[in-house]
Symmetry: C2
DNA sequence: CTGAAAGCGCTAACAG
DNA sequence: CTGTTAGCGCTTTCAG
């Protein structure tokens, strides 16, 4: 068995197998166009000398790269890895490679990543994009694009509808006697945030509760911790956070302020990414990020096969996951606004 | 401003600017070879018609792709995202795109991913590879390769030396009076696992403690939970887990068995990926995954510039992070092996 | 400083 | 069924 020196090319296989380059190419991409024997011989030789088609050259020639790009706001946010994992794993099965981009919650960065990826991929998945709509359209114009948790008309999108889970959370709190709650919001450019905020307000109105909004621009543990002071000042007896990270941070912050959960305040998160890892175990809204990732990739693959795929809007619903951070309104905290103690976030 | 129809190519710029294709190319890659005025004009035209060099074509021509691959065993394991984030962010600054692969802890899958990436990247980073050494060498032969948490002679590698942190953990437990501990191991192909295991045994011997080893093949919460029974059966009073996920799982499992931490058993994790999110807050060994990710990428970039970079072996040390899951040996649990109650993992 | 020409490795008509 | 001939879009000698 000859040990190949340089990376073997199609010509070498052609020569050894005694066929044209075209035949070698066909043996790999359209074997049914060749005689069985020929294919076998070619593949044999290729195997021997360790030839494997060069994806870059192929891409240049065909215009198809066999790559997709996946862009998220922050890989380190536990909401995304399962989604990425799912998409990557599915891509794998179709022999696609995936580029990963993390924008750091920065629209400009997101824009830059997309441009960089554009000519190396057959399509892209944009998760929780913070980009203005016209930029999204711009990129969708260059390449097939599917959105996750972002609702832009005419662009294929898969949406996790946390609205219903959030509504359940609000009425659950209402049942427990809470009359005044705070919604601790996330990134202002986030579709999920707008959706959740809207759901909280709507349900609260229906239950005749008052809701105050406090905004944590970045959905991190730390931002949640810093918001605890401001939350206390509102005199609310329960808080619904944009996501679990924020909720967990709030719990930490509250605890530093000497307040107990759910004794003094009830808290509910969103996305269920922490499992029962907090203490007390966090009541939260389910997420379906794995399915969302699969669905998004699957839509993209469909698109590659069947041309365009219209105005898909794939909605997945959610529900409240009851654990241990909610309880009946504490009587000691019902009277109204507490004394300002410290500046919040 | 003319709205460009199809994706503009170099020829169009050349035509409009009234120069050769070669000049356009040079305006982008070697501006200093051209007259200032020419460069300005070309870049202006390019801007106008929205031309941007095609990375695929460039790659085919130059052999340099401007891409790197990053392969990890499991994106969903919280140890990896910060590392990925760090590497990606650094790559970004040098205008590199990164392919992400998640092998699902499966060597065969890892192999497949690497082959798929090979001809589309200038180099790869293999994190916590589960591949046999000869396969790693094989891939390193095809492309510049840097390893993280895998120690193969002659291949550039950055190693997080959890050995020292683990040693501190053992002596800390010894100080607390523990005489019998268990090491809950991780993936058998994991270099980190071998390193940690060795450190535990060595330090324990020095402190005249006895250590039993239980193996959880996969480092997940669930595997840890299932191991709790087996751990109890050993009669040990403390457990050191391969990583935080396992440790957290053990805590959950122990709690289901009615055992309290650190009252009945002390537990220490490794990697510090959970922060203080467990309850009680987990005592663990620090990690430096962000630096590891940066360092690995940085080595790769160095390699691209300066040719080969010898036998680099970059070691980063760690230390014990004391929190709340360790305490003095419980007297009630010192007598020896408890009754078998349930089968462990 | 700039143009002409020859590919990078592969695929895709178009002929036989 | 298989070979021939052009490119894909860019970079890179080599001349001038």
């Amino acid at each position: 068995m000859p040990i190949p020196r340089a990376k073997p090319t199609i010509s070498q296989v052609a020569e050894v197998a005694g066929v044209s380059r075209a035949s070698v190419s066909r043996a790999f991409t359209n074997p049914h166009m060749l005689g069985e024997a020929t294919v076998a011989r070619i593949l044999g030789v290729a195997e021997d000398i360790g030839y494997v088609p060069n994806r870059t050259a192929r891409a240049l020639s065909t215009g198809r790269t066999g790559n997709v790009a996946l862009v998220v706001p922050d890989i380190a946010n536990p909401f995304f890895p399962p989604l990425i994992q799912a998409a990557q794993s599915l891509a794998d099965k179709s022999d696609f490679c995936v580029f990963l981009g993390s924008s750091g919650e920065d629209p400009a960065q997101e824009d830059k990543l997309l441009s960089r990826f554009a000519d190396q991929v057959d399509g892209m998945i944009l998760v929780s994009s913070r980009l203005p709509e016209d930029r999204i359209r711009h990129h969708a114009d260059a390449r097939p694009l599917v959105l996750v948790n972002r609702d832009v008309n005419g662009i294929p999108r898969v949406l996790i509808d946390s609205g219903v889970g959030v509504a359940q959370a609000v009425s659950h709190l209402a049942d427990l006697g809470h009359r005044r709650i705070v919604y601790l919001g996330g990134p202002s450019q986030s579709w999920s945030n707008r959706q959740r905020s809207a759901a909280v307000h709507k349900s609260a109105r229906a239950a005749e509760m008052v809701v105050e909004t406090i905004n944590a621009l970045v959905p991190t543990h730390e931002a949640g911790r810093q918001a605890a002071g401001a939350i206390r000042e509102t005199g609310a007896t329960a808080v619904i956070a944009f996501d679990d990270l924020l909720a967990q941070g709030v719990m930490a912050g509250l605890s530093e302020l000497g307040l107990s959960v759910p004794g003094d305040l009830s808290v509910v998160g969103c996305d269920d990414v922490l499992g029962a890892a907090t203490y007390p175990a966090l009541t939260t809204v389910s997420n379906r990020s794995v399915e969302a990732g699969e669905q998004a990739l699957s839509l993209l693959l469909d698109h590659f096969r069947s041309g365009a795929l219209g105005d898909v809007r794939f909605l997945m619903d959610t529900h409240l996951v009851l654990r241990a951070t909610t309880a009946a309104r504490s009587l000691g905290r019902q009277a109204g606004v507490a004394q300002p103690v410290r500046k919040g976030a």
